[in-house]
């Protein structure tokens, strides 16, 4: 099936099998490997992307279901400087860096996208809001402590 997605602001048209998962389309067809696959039951959230601005687990939807929609992946979050230099990180990425909210980094793209979506819906969350809001994203390295701090810092609720 031919589908057209707007991925990180760029129109991408592809011919995909009807059963192809969005995450495999992004990774294997479009070369956007920042979005990771950590499970096969929609439990871990490593594959979280934004679909029309809302977080979704891209292993849970088919590529064809995203036809005509806007997808933002981790690659589309930081500003691109366009001259080979690094662009500015998104405030949530900056906060994860400043608060040591990542270790191995495998869950990080999904965790960051989930946090962006969480803050979009609730710009001033409490610690409990953040903990409950990130329940669908698993991390094995950090014990979540610095992830929670990072999200609160990004929200301006604590001093970074």
């Amino acid at each position: 099936m031919e589908i057209t997605l707007s991925v990180n602001g760029v129109e991408r048209t592809s011919d995909v099998e009807p059963r192809r998962l969005l995450v495999h389309h992004l990774r294997d067809d479009l070369g956007l490997t920042g979005t990771n696959v950590g499970c096969d039951t929609s439990s871990c959230g490593a594959c979280t992307v934004l679909l029309d601005g809302e977080s979704v687990k891209s292993c849970t939807i088919l590529a064809v279901q995203a036809d005509g929609h806007e997808v933002t992946t981790i690659e589309g979050l930081a500003g691109a400087a366009g001259n080979g230099e690094t662009g500015a990180l998104h405030p949530v990425q900056e906060a994860f860096h400043a608060q040591h909210g990542l270790q191995c980094g495998f869950c990080t793209p999904g965790m960051v996208m989930a946090a962006v979506s969480l803050l979009d819906e609730n710009p001033h969350p409490t610690e409990e809001d953040v903990r409950l809001g990130l329940e669908g994203n698993l991390c094995r390295c950090t014990g979540y402590q610095n992830i929670v701090r990072a999200v609160l810092a990004a929200a301006g609720e604590v001093r970074a």
Partner: protein, 803 residues
Amino acid sequence: MTATETPTTAEGRAFGQRLLRKEDPRLLTGEARFIDDLQIPGALWMGMVRSPYAHARIRGIDVSAALEMPGVRHVFTGADLADAWADPMPCAWPVTEDMKAPAHWPVAKDKACYVGDIVAVVVAEDRYQAADAVDAVVVDYEPLEAVVDIEDAASDRVVVHEELGTNRSYTWTLSPEPEAVERAFAEAAHTVSETYVQQRLIPVAMEPRGVAVVPGVYGGDLTVYSSTQIPHILKVMVAATCGVPEHKVRVVAPAVGGGFGSKLNVYAEELIAVALARRLGVPTRWTETRAENAVATIQGRGQVQRMELAADAEGRVTAVRARITADMGAYLQLVTPGIPLLGAFLYHGVYDVPAYHFECTGVFTNRTPTDAYRGAGRPEATYAIERAMDALAREVGVDPAEIRRRNYIPPDRFPYESVAGLTYDSGDYEPTLDRALELVGYEELRAEQARRRAAGEKKHLGIGVSTYVEMCGLAPSRVLASLNYAAGGWEAASVRVLPTGKVQVVSGTTPHGQGHETSWSQIVADRLGIDPADVEVLHSDTAVSPLGMDTYGSRSLPVGGVAVAMATDQVIAKAKAIAAHQLECAEDDLELVDGELRVRGTPARSMTLQAVAFEAFSAHDLPDGMEPNLSAQVSYDPPNFVFPFGTHVAVVEVDEETGRVELRDYAAVDDCGPQVNPMIVEGQLHGGIVQGAAQALWEEAVYDADGNLRNPTLVDYGVPSAAELPSLKLDHTVTPSPTNPLGVKGIGEAGTIGATPAVINAIVDALSPFGITDIAMPATPERVWAAIQQARSGSAGDGEGAP
């Protein structure tokens, strides 16, 4: 040495700073490349056909339907691959001379011995086609009775490997003075006799495993990309088992998404990928699914522990006797048999105990092999002694904190020669207890507990303490030799100052989340007096870092980081020789300050490190006989382990009506000596504590009687999310190790080691009004509720009977 004293050295120095990590930007933007991200033109995807039976004879395999499917190129059975490997899969740790080990081939030939055992391999053009074809391979199995339970296995009622004649792989004993132990128990005023079960755990690194092999058919070499903690060890093992000359093998660990011991192994899929890439002459690759990971990647723990203490009238422990039965699973993986023995020396923990007996029997079962999982043997040992100390406190009738104070090895006894034969390098345990109790408000909590119990509340407050010591920094090679381990425990590093003054460090460690690039940069920059940003750390590729023993056992800093420091010091010595020659002064007159070699008292006479490096590079005017270039390489073999320690205190609320346990508060005071980067140390502790608490509360690989894993997905297996956890309170003390020049100790496993007994002790404390003295792990609501019901009905309240 107070708890609040920071370990940082002089203001402005790189060592001790909370430097933000160099690794972060590429990981935060999706730029980092994990194994499955690699684009490998022409690679064929492998799919593994795995046994659905825990124990079954393979009567025949029909591959015809699979071969007809779109994109499928080949299907290989065990028989097809009979000559693919020169040797079976390696076990590097034959712990006793008479250890029994079955031949373990990457693809089973006659019999499958656990659910997940590979019986055939599909090779197809893409991953979807490979997955489809796996389902089309028809295997004719003759199911056999499986043995699942550890103690049932020890009885040999069902034998996993007929050719061995028994499930008992080995019995290993450490009993320096058996009569002293007997005497201590005979004369004891108090004794404790407990049985604990260490349930099996699934490590769940967030990145599943993967491998890709590019055969240089005409280029002469073979490159293995693997999501591994041990590229250097894997290189040796690929050469040994696949018959590839070692100098023709390169192993690369790309970005690796966590390991926790589960990627400290040589796996069937790696050896299959090598064999098939060579046979087919094209690249092969495979990425594990999460459901595969649950059965195909090693599991952790899996022990039954019989723990006995003898004590005098005041509760001073006079002997420890620990008898362990350890579940090896169906085969011995790389270090399977040695894992329980990494705890063998620590069943008396932080306590000054004069008599000691340890024995461990390793048994085969029809389950996934066990092997290293964060802490590896030391969490099990710590759990046993810390649970038993609480039992002793109950027996003697004193507070759990007090029983520990009476037994701690006193600070003036270090270096401490332990009854088990170790030399604990340094320690001062009581301050960590004091501070941890202070952080949770221990006295107030005990008052609250008494008040609430008196009021008959249905929610019960419990406080649990554990003090641990860990032997880590694996390891002195001679000690490993005495334990029959096949390899050494050294680590390599090289440091080179480039002609422009920038510095490259090559490390034999293999970070996968630990932040070595940042910490090693700090160590080097600190010594050279330069900016850590001017240091680049290279690792995890045997073509770049040819020498190394990799990352596990909390060894990277106390072995690998020390090697980096020593190589840096050699560079400084050479730089001084060059500068002395150029400046016409004595080497002893030079000091290295802020990246500049200055003549003491005459700061105008100086050379920058960069200028010295350029002199070394141009080699126009070096001292007679000196080799060009400013670089040094070190292989460091530590003289001893290092022994970090600390006290953890867990505070729980247990609802007697639902059995639900809430972790209300948690404090940890750890001591790993001077901290290179306190931010990274705290991160290691956060993650470790949550993993340890998860063993206590949520995680278990649950098997049925037929050997089926009942919870292979993350829907069913209880990896905690942020929602289940409180904010953790951390503090530290600083007791340097005299063993190495940095004074450092490892911290990667400490959190896991301290946490599990603290949480269970807290739950048992909460349930003590019911007379409950034990609860099986994980302490699920169902188990806790059942334990309360049993206690109320007057039967044994140990929680063991609950599912």
